[in-house]
Amino acid sequence: MARPPDTDGGLTAYLDALVGEITAGRQPPATSVAKLGRRDFIKLSGLAGGGLVLGFSLKTPTARATTGKNELVFNAYLQITPAGDIVIMAPNPEIGQGVKTALPMIVAEELDVRWNDVRVMQSPIDADAFGRQFAGGSRSIPDNWQILRRAGASARAMLVAAAAARWGKSAGELETMDSRVIHRTSGQSAGYGELAEAAARQSPPDNVRLKDRKDFRLLGRRIPGVDNRAIVTGQALFGIDQSPNNLSYAVYHKCPSVGGKVVSANLDHIKTLNGIQDAFILEGNGNPGELKPGIAIVADSTWAALKARDALQVQWDTSTAAADDWDALAARAAELSSKPPQQIVTERGDVAQAVRDPSNKARESYYTHHFVAHAPMEPQNAAAWHSDGRIEIWSGTQTPGRAISAVAALLGIDSKNVHLHQLRAGGGFGRRLINDPVCEAAAIAQRIGGSVKLQWTREDDMANDFFRVGGFHAMKGAVNSAGELVAFEDHLITFSENGTDPVSGGALRPAGYPENACANSRLAHSMLPLGIQCGPWRAPGSNTTAWAQQSFLGELAAAAGRDQLEFLIETLQSITSPVPGGVDKNRAIATVKLAASRAGWGRNEGKGRGMGVAFYYSHMGHVAQVADISVDASKRLTVHKVTVAADVGPIVNLSGAEAMIQGAVVDALSTMAGQAIGFKSGVISPLNFDQYPLLRIRHTPEVEVHFIESDNEPTGLGEPGLPPLAPAVGNAIFAASGIRPRTLPLSREGYVLA
């Protein structure tokens, strides 16, 4: 199989294109009176139950104009049956971020339905009919916010118009509430179900007025996840749970060092083993994000496939494989850190001059963070059924549209012959943006001409991850005699796969802070060559940049002899020339002040105990965190409490939003405490949870969450809650002990969670 054209720039270009699709967020209209084209709404007929069925476009007018497919471009629908059932489609993949509940809530709010009347369904994946559907970049809520509100409001207007016609009243006299249209003065009322048929004959309105935030009845409340009952009773919700007919089970064995090819294997022996149906080599398509070379073992059961794999003997050609060695790279990074950077990302003033100036106090520090894995709880898997040139896929992918086009290209079939069933994913964190398990399952299914479930082991999942890249921040900075920040430099020694750009997640992406908060600043890169594959990991880039930069600001505050909180607020206040779409200093300061006041900043908590604060802006979210910790002389660390203040616009589902913050704090602490992926001669370790520790319930700190709600456009919460935790804890360790941790994970500096 040939290397597909979009991998000409290697894996980095492939992933950058993928992430670019996701982060190219659309700017929704600012006005609350939404103008609708007649074609934004399409009444569907022939659906079970009859009644009002409304399709609504989730594409922007520009996107529609360029596709030229005006008639059929809609992405979700709601259906109101004469019996009063209200079905709302959830268009985006559910990976644990709560969108299967939150997106339908947005429709339901404007529709004025009682939430108990709503049934949520996962919408089909179909690019022609539904536009782009993905879960990534915390984009699900902001991308869909206005459109889903308009959809709900328009259906509501049609129901009102139907009631007005029936009762001979004007629409302006009518109200809606709890799935009913009401005429207060006469006491007349009718349920949406009763009005559905008549409403379906109304024209969709050209303009609808959206609610003011103060009138929200459902949004901002705590609504439990719509799949909760199915989850707690063990229903087959996940990709791994699917069993197409006549299923075979497969494992796919790849080279321990990425990029290695199969020379030969004892396939004849493998085929004689109990329960083995077939064993064969696949060459791969040259794109490690799709199909790597390997050996497929197809069996009667997962266990038979796994056992046969233990008996595999493979001769690998590793001449083109990754041969990276962390220790060697770390040594070269230290050398590069004292040389001029290779790439200047942004620069103002003269950092070197400010650092040399004897009237300033200067600091230099070196921060190291290791590679980490996604390790979603559900190891990668996919089921595929190939017959008659057509393939069906079952997967909890984050990018179903990409999965379909990748499978079509790989198998050499038209994408209309690829049908993907979107399943719930047992965690994503960015890993399931990449569809290699889907491509492997599809290739195996095509080869055997049947149906197969491909199961990766945990070890496969770790060894073949697209890691969060490690890196080294050489920091420089200075404060003047008044204790104000006058210079800040972050020279990131990062990695490159293609020699020109940092790998996915390995670049500094300035958002205006702190580089625009002082007269002299520089953000810059140097790059080391890397063969290990890297990819987007929850809050890419931000998850480590926040730690290095906010920790170093803590060092500068200490150099100035200033309170860290006061110094942080002053630097935010000093932002000049803000970056469009970047940090809003007033929103930022408000989160910092709120977190600090709720945490009781300034309390003297005694020896070995301390607080640290950090702020970070990522994925459109402004988040501040205060960590309250204890640490003893033998570096036994207890995180007592984390107080979080977040401004992500209006809150859709308060329960889901708080869960995202609680989960992000746990994830961030888990990662900072003890997780590191190492590699020697390109071979990854560790490969399972015995040596890759996830945080346990005992070490979970109290987390207090406060949201500053505003009329700013909402952003998602999958990502922005994570970055500030590590620097808040690092700053707290310094406050408590006078020792500044500069390595992630902390275990590399001898810290253990007590």
Binding site: V232, G427, N688
Partner: protein, 171 residues
């Protein structure tokens, strides 16, 4: 290859022609279609595959079928009594615990085993019993709260209290 007769969720299953070393996890999932029990690590480190063996928590990924024959197995599918949820399942819904949800069957089974032997655990006892169950999404706050809520309800009821269908069967 061997044949086994298993008692799972108070029902008898005959499993023919399987390798004696097959972990009960894969028998449940592949052979019997009981997919509520999850695979997470395969080495008894994550708890996603937690089931009950004679009412005690066990890791299905690391127990060969030959070792569990004759024992009473309960999986997440058998924890509720028809439509009547186990108090923990209801508490999990009320506290909106699941994020991705993948670990939750194992979490609930571990918690249910705890309440079987100690209906009113302290926070410390909860942390100890739940130590072996990992949640990658970080739902621990709500897991703890859900168990606490049921433990508190049990306390009000005067101590020992568990749903009838969890009472150990007569042999």
């Amino acid at each position: 290859m061997a044949n086994y007769s298993l008692t799972i969720n108070n029902r008898r299953y005959d499993v023919a022609n399987v390798e004696p070393d097959t972990p009960i996890l894969w028998i449940l999932r592949d052979t019997l279609g009981l997919v509520g029990t999850k695979y997470g690590c395969g080495i008894a480190e994550c708890g996603a595959c937690t089931i009950h063996l004679n009412d005690s928590p066990a890791r299905a990924c690391s127990l060969p079928i030959s070792a569990v024959s004759g024992m009473r197995i309960t999986t997440i599918e058998g924890l509720s009594d028809g439509d009547v949820l186990h108090p923990l399942q209801q508490s999990w819904i009320d506290n909106d615990v699941p994020q991705c949800g993948y670990c939750q069957a194992g979490q609930i089974m571990a918690a249910a085993a705890l309440l079987n032997r100690n209906p009113t655990p302290t926070d410390e006892e909860i942390d100890t019993a739940m130590e072996g169950n990992l949640c990658r999404c970080g739902t621990y706050h709500r897991i703890r709260q859900s168990i606490r809520d049921v433990a508190n309800a049990n306390r009000k009821k005067g101590g020992k209290s568990w749903p009838d269908h969890l009472t150990p069967m007569e042999d």
